[in-house]
Amino acid sequence: MRELRGLQLVLDGVRAAGGEIVVVSKDSPAELAELAQEHELAFLLLSDPDLALVDAFGLRHAGADVFRGGDLARPAVLFFDSSGELSDFFLTDNWRQRLRGEDAIARVRAMR
């Protein structure tokens, strides 16, 4: 949850740079609605239970969902410019390393 709260904290900065935040999850729409309400998340959440969108980016992490079983997305942050082209991405080899908020805003600002 800390990751989502962190995104909420940088949302204003991302929007000021002309961007929007979208978070994709394997949770159901109802679970996402509850999550957004509980944590007061103002960005767009999208439900991808079959990981079809995750597969479209080649980011499936097999066997990673140790609590519910199955797969998860590999940690990644993708940046698309205003024309919808992938312009930048952040990938880590260690899931404990995350993109810092100010870096995320700077990358959004740097895109056209």
Binding site: V22, D48, G58, D65, N94, R96
Partner: protein, 145 residues
């Protein structure tokens, strides 16, 4: 305090950590994140159980000493279980499918659903929806990770 009471308190504390870790900590804080309070609590539980088993009050019966020793062993066992899970877990991640993650690729039209159960796609949202004309930071929520 009796040796058995010390042992039972110690094992209860040590057992509570893995239980709470799975039920709450891993989901709210994150797996493997800032686990030192968990370790400190387990150490306290083991110390209390050890106090009962290794320094029992004078006159403690043999049966109570055995119970205290079992509690100490269980406390250490719960500590081991916690360590096995948090330290043994792999932090390594698989490589992405680079063919799908090339710069310049377009937003896909893969169907997803919004929290109000509306079907949409990133492509549709970028053309006519809330993302039209906006840059996009897209990330993936791994739940408690």
């Amino acid at each position: 305090m009796k040796a058995t009471a010390r042992g039972l308190i110690g094992v209860a504390i040590a057992a509570a950590v893995p239980l709470l870790y799975f039920r709450w900590w891993a989901k709210e804080v994150g797996i493997g994140e800032s686990t030192w309070p968990c370790w400190a609590t387990i150490a306290a539980g083991i110390a209390i159980a050890g106090w009962g088993a290794l320094r029992p009050p004078v006159g403690t019966r043999r049966g109570d000493r055995v119970v205290a020793a079992i509690c100490l062993a269980l406390s250490v066992g719960f500590g081991g279980l916690f360590g096995w899970y948090t330290l043994g877990i792999s932090y390594e991640l698989p490589a992405p499918a680079w063919s799908e993650l090339r710069l310049g690729r377009r937003l896909p039209g893969v169907k997803v659903r919004t929290p109000d159960d509306r079907e949409t796609s990133l492509l549709a949202e970028s053309r006519t929806g809330s993302l039209k004309g906006r840059k996009l930071l897209l990330t993936f929520f791994r739940g408690h990770w």
